[in-house]
C-alpha cells in the first residue's frame, strides 16, 4: 500500500527579480541577478573556536538545517568561501590567525560575528581575550547570545543575505571600502 503523497505547500520560493519578461527571455538588471545568485549560495567558513561552534553544529544538523539557505557546503579553505562566521571567543593569541584567514578570503566576503564573545568579548573581560573581533577585522552582522540559539544564527544569516542583496557590484571597488580596510591595516 503506497504511502499517500504529501506536498509541502509552505515552502517560500525565491522570487524572480523585477524585469522585463517576454516570450522566452527576461531582461533585468545584472546587479539584481548577481545579488540573487550570491545571496542564495553563501558558502560559510565556520571559524568555530568554542561553545558557539557547538550551536553551529546543531544549526548544520538536520533539525535546523542551514543547507536550506544555500549554505550546503561549509568550506574550511578561505579561498573558497564567502562568509566568515566567527563563532566563539577569540583570544589575543588567535587574533593574528583570524586576520590572516580574513585577508586570504577573496572578494566579495562578509563576516558574521556569532555570539557575545566574538561581538564584544562576552563575559570574559580578561587580559587574554580580544574584546570583539571588530578590533581587527570589519564585521557585517553581529549575532548576540551566549550561546545564540540556532534560530538566532539563521536570523543572522538572513540578515547577511539582505546585505548581500542590497550591496551592488561596485562596492568592493569604492573609495569608502578601501578606507575601511585601511583603517584595519588590511590592504
Amino acid at each position: 500500500m503506497p504511502r499517500p503523497v504529501q506536498y509541502n505547500n509552505k515552502v517560500k520560493f525565491e522570487g524572480i527579480p523585477e524585469g522585463y519578461m517576454g516570450e522566452g527571455f527576461m531582461a533585468t538588471n545584472l546587479e539584481k541577478m548577481v545579488s540573487m545568485a550570491r545571496k542564495n549560495s553563501l558558502w560559510p567558513l565556520p571559524f568555530a573556536t568554542s561553545c558557539c561552534g557547538i550551536e553551529f553544529m546543531a544549526t548544520m544538523a538536520s533539525h535546523y538545517d542551514i543547507a536550506r539557505f544555500g549554505s550546503e557546503r561549509v568550506g574550511f579553505s578561505p579561498r573558497q568561501c564567502d562568509l566568515l562566521m566567527v563563532m566563539g571567543t577569540i583570544a589575543k593569541k588567535m587574533g593574528p590567525v583570524l586576520k590572516q584567514v580574513y585577508t586570504q578570503m577573496a572578494e566579495p566576503r562578509w563576516v558574521m560575528a556569532v555570539g557575545a564573545c566574538a561581538s564584544s568579548g562576552g563575559i570574559f573581560d580578561s587580559y587574554s581575550v580580544l574584546q570583539g573581533i571588530d578590533q581587527i577585522i570589519p564585521v557585517d552582522v553581529y549575532v548576540p547570545g551566549c550561546a545564540p540559539r540556532p534560530e538566532a544564527i539563521l536570523d543572522g544569516l538572513m540578515k547577511v543575505q539582505e546585505l548581500v542583496n542590497k550591496e551592488g557590484l561596485r562596492r568592493r571597488h569604492s573609495q569608502q571600502y578601501k578606507e575601511l580596510l585601511n583603517s584595519y591595516g588590511i590592504n
Binding site: D125, S126, Y127, Q131, D134
Partner: protein
C-alpha cells in the same frame, strides 16, 4: 590492613621526620607541607614504597600568598593511590624572589604541562624541566598574570567607559572607529 590516612602519615614521618610540617585533614584529605628541597624525594618515596603506592599525579598547581614573607608561592601537589583509593595533598613553599622548585617531570609525564602552566601563571621556575616556556598565554607576555598584584582586565583598553563600570577614576573615553 586497609591503608588509611594515619598509616600514610606514620610512614611519612618515619622516613622524613620533622621535615614535614603542617599536618591536617581538611575534608578528609591528608595535607602536609614539605620543604622545597625535599619535594622530589617525597614524591619518589610515595611512588616506590610498596605499602603507599601513590602513583598517579592528579594535579599540580600553585597559590600565591603575598602576605607570607619569604614563602609567597605554594606549589600544591595532589596525589592519588588508585588501588587503595586514598588521596593526598602536599605543598611546597618558595619565595617569590627565588622561585626555584625541582621539576617532577622525570617521575610523572603529566607534570610537564602542569608545570609549564604554573610557570606561565606564577613564575615558578622548575629546575630540570625539559621545555619551560609559556603554554597558555602569548609568548611575548612579560608578567605572570595570576599573581595577586595584577588585575583581570586588560589595562591597555581605550574603549571602555570606566564610569559605566562603576570605576570612579574614569579614563578619557575614545570610542574605537
Amino acid at each position: 590492613m586497609a591503608l588509611t590516612n594515619d598509616l600514610v602519615k606514620q610512614a611519612l614521618i618515619e622516613k622524613f621526620g620533622d621535615a614535614l610540617t603542617d599536618w591536617g585533614e581538611p575534608y578528609d584529605m591528608l595535607t602536609f607541607t614539605a620543604p622545597k628541597e625535599l619535594n622530589l624525594k617525597v614524591l619518589q618515596f610515595l611512588y616506590d614504597e610498596e605499602t603507599l603506592k601513590f602513583r598517579f599525579l592528579t594535579d599540580l598547581q600553585a597559590v600565591h600568598f603575598p602576605d607570607n614573607q619569604g614563602a609567597e608561592l605554594a606549589v600544591v601537589y595532589h596525589l592519588h593511590n588508585l588501588q587503595d583509593n586514598i588521596r593526598l595533598r602536599f605543598k611546597v613553599f618558595t619565595s617569590i624572589d627565588n622561585p626555584e622548585v625541582f621539576s617532577a617531570t622525570a617521575l610523572y609525564q603529566s607534570a610537564n604541562w602542569m608545570e609549564r602552566e604554573t610557570y606561565d601563571f606564577f613564575g615558578v621556575q622548575f629546575v630540570g624541566h625539559p621545555n619551560l616556556i609559556r603554554i597558555l598565554n602569548v609568548e611575548e607576555m612579560d608578567y605572570f598574570p595570576l599573581r595577586k598584584e595584577y588585575p583581570v582586565e586588560d589595562q591597555t583598553r581605550v574603549d571602555k567607559d570606566d564610569e559605566m563600570f562603576g570605576r570612579l577614576h574614569a579614563k578619557n573615553v575614545k570610542n574605537h572607529e
